[in-house]
Amino acid sequence: MPLATQDTASASEAAVAVDRRAFLRLAGGLTLGFCLSGRAVRVRADEPFEPAARLFAPNAFVRIGPDNSVTVIAKYLEMGQGAFTGLATLLAEELDADWSQVRVEGAPADASRYANGDTGMQYTGGSNAMANAYQQMRRAGAVARALLVAAAAQLWHVPTGEIQVAGGVVAHAASKRSTKFGALTSAAAALPLPVEVKLKQPSQFKLIGNAGLRRKDSHAKTNGSALFTQDLKLPGMLVAVASHPARFGATLKHVDDTAARAIPGVVAVVPFAGGPGYFGGVAVLAHNTWVAKRARDALVIEWDETHATRTDSEQLRSRYRALAQQPGRIAVEAGDVAFMDTPGLQVLDATYEVPYLAHACMEPMNCLVQLTDSGVSIWNGEQSQTVDQRAIAELLAIKPEQVRITQLYAGGSFGRRASPKSDYVLEAVAIARQAATMGQRAPIKLVWMRTDDMRGGYYRPAFLHRIRAALDGAGLLVAWQQRIVGQSIRQGTAFDRGNQNGIDSTSIEGAAEPYVIANLRVELTTPDDVGVPVQGWRALGHTHTAFATECMLDELAIAAGRDPYQFRRDLLAGNPRHLAVLDLVADKAGWRQPLLPGAHGERRGRGIAVHASFGSFVAQVAEVSVTADGKLRVERVVCAVDCGIAINPDVVRAQMEGGIGYGLGAALHGAITLKDGVVEQSDFDDYAPLRMSEMPAIEVHTVPSQQPPSGVGDPGTPPLAPAVVNAIYHATGVRIRTLPIGERIPTNSPRVEPSDASDDPNH
């Protein structure tokens, strides 16, 4: 019984509706049941939750049970950003489900059903989950609703048009009949899919935009029952803790495992080779983590460092500074930056530097592997299914579809688990494969200890930006030349198709944007011989491009004698969404009112920054205080965000709060440094995270919008560092151009003014 409606379904959206019986077969084969049984978590594979006949699964995204439960299948990883809640909100909205009956589970690895947008790849990232799921999940809910309505109409012999659905109840008012979803699942499962369904208008939304909706994962994450990879224990499972070389690129030469094997409980010592994207080492297998770690620490290993990196952060910094004196590849060009040499212009020349950053997720990297007769099963806080399937398949010489992946909650990611080289996942598989050749075929869970995680590489690359910019006699910004130096996070990965003419767009995204500058050039130099593994970190390139751009804007405003907020406004003509968040944040922060004075001897200041990333627009004002002896405190951050339709307004707020805190931790303390190739940090003492006492008060204001939804996981972070650094200047006159800021502001040093570079022979 097709439901004819006016709303049209596009071809790509209609493709969402898969053959139901085929899906049930798949669901039956891939569904996993978890139950906590005191000692361990049992996992039963290849067993459907319900007898197929009673299960109503009209598409790949929803399953409705006879008990009225609505299970939303989430193709995006829940790593804290609220994806599970957002996806459930979209589907439940169009299904008119009872929110309390909605539960969420992670989708299996299958790009044919769960690809991200039109990429053909299944992954979570780029803050695009809500943007890409907005139509798809709503349509999935609407299809399920239409089938339930059709089933009720058939049962009650009434026209479908007279049936109402609200709060999980299907009702026919005239005949005073109503029922919950569960009673209709058998009948609905037997009906043909509707050809078209009509989606709600935003004015009809009850769940989307509802700030009172609570997260779907709050309950399990407050009673210890939420299952992370770290928590999963399969029958007979062994824990692997591995020893890695101190220098990237070193290989195993010799291992003496006498002392390790003497520790009671050690099952096996497994030397394993590295490969593209991951490093070899020696793993100890044991029934518990503590034994495995102690034995790992007792290994005596000689490494072959012939091909190991000897990169040194200080030398790298000098090298990048030298590279910034030379032209790079031109990434963006408008007008002619040679205009900068026109006599009479005021030219500023400033160099901004940011270090390597670790993601330092609370849950260190880990991965559970079981080699099976039909391939391999992986349990992971899985963020990049298709890339990982391909990489694992290549390593094991099997087909990608033989790599089954179960997505578990991830204890943070900030980009780390979307490793384009599949590094820690491949390491786990390599250990399991090597163990199998030694006769050990138990499931193996590789657990990185904190130090392994901190020193494991795949950092946000260090970057240097040298910006020369010119003001004319009227204080107008007339030219901007930005030279960017840093490693590519895409080179040699499945995403390097995005690189054009040797330009990795993630190295330059956000640079000088979106300011209207008549003479503009952005150049990029990408060293490819540094030897330190890098990858994306929350907001990718925007973290460093926003820092350099928004700090330079401030320096220019001050040089021009202008208010930094007004100076930005004048350069944002034609960018109404930037302007809206900038105006909102200035208004809410009281930009025009003077700051209240601080305690005796304390200096206070505020700074502003605006930056768009991943389709969303964010402006922030930071207020700082600096004591007489230079101690910095960020007191308050006011944030304005435009992310289109805010699907879950409270999740939007939470992501801005978290993005600010994450960015502040990095701005204040974050730096991974290398000395002669060895990473100097190892734990939360020398790689200090933001702590409670450092968290500023935060106010988040959301611009009401009917634009399509865009992301919130990343965009809250980029404006934070420049807003804080600009505030420090306002408070003290000290211009910070190198991150991290550190504990103290050198307030007794003279003001650092940008040099006048008009006589620089290099230009």
Partner: protein
């Protein structure tokens, strides 16, 4: 053999005396709500209550809890303070990734027992050892104040 009271039940484990309580809970007793975050009491993810006080189980040898009372996240709902804290945590949707939150909730229980009406400075002092990389600190602080108010009303 170590014997202690875990979440109101007596348990015995036959492990080395110096095995950290964290791994006894997680790997021997299957209580995985208490998390591993570091090995050096630097992050607080492994916080449990020992005789009502917050301790880092990663650096607490199991021998140190012999004959004593240990409470983990799995049993906070059975505690009058824990129940309120858990409820407020859910009402405010404090969690993001959630990995550190067992430790945050346990540390909050210990704080509220010691200081029923904590000031912001009390919260800073008590909670600075509990790292949250998602930076949910704004909500943790708000939740602690709300839980204190709720408990104050209940206790009045």
């Amino acid at each position: 053999m170590q014997t202690f009271t875990l979440n109101e039940r007596e348990v015995s484990v036959d492990v080395a005396d110096d095995m950290p309580l964290l791994w006894v809970l997680r790997d021997e007793l299957g209580l995985t709500g208490t998390k591993y975050g570091c090995d050096r009491a630097l992050c607080g993810a492994c916080t449990v209550l020992l005789e009502g006080a917050a301790v880092r189980s990663c650096m607490t040898p199991v021998s140190a809890v012999d004959g004593k009372n240990v409470t983990t996240i799995e049993n906070v709902a059975a505690d009058p303070v824990g129940r309120v804290v858990q409820d407020v945590w859910r009402r405010l949707d404090v969690v993001q990734c959630g990995y550190c939150q067992s430790g945050q909730i346990i540390a909050t229980m210990a704080l509220l027992r010691a200081k029923p009406r904590p000031t912001d400075a009390d919260i800073d002092a008590a909670m600075d050892g509990n790292v949250c990389r998602c930076a949910t600190y704004v909500r943790i602080r708000a939740a602690i104040h709300q839980a204190a108010s709720a408990l104050g009303v209940e206790g009045a």
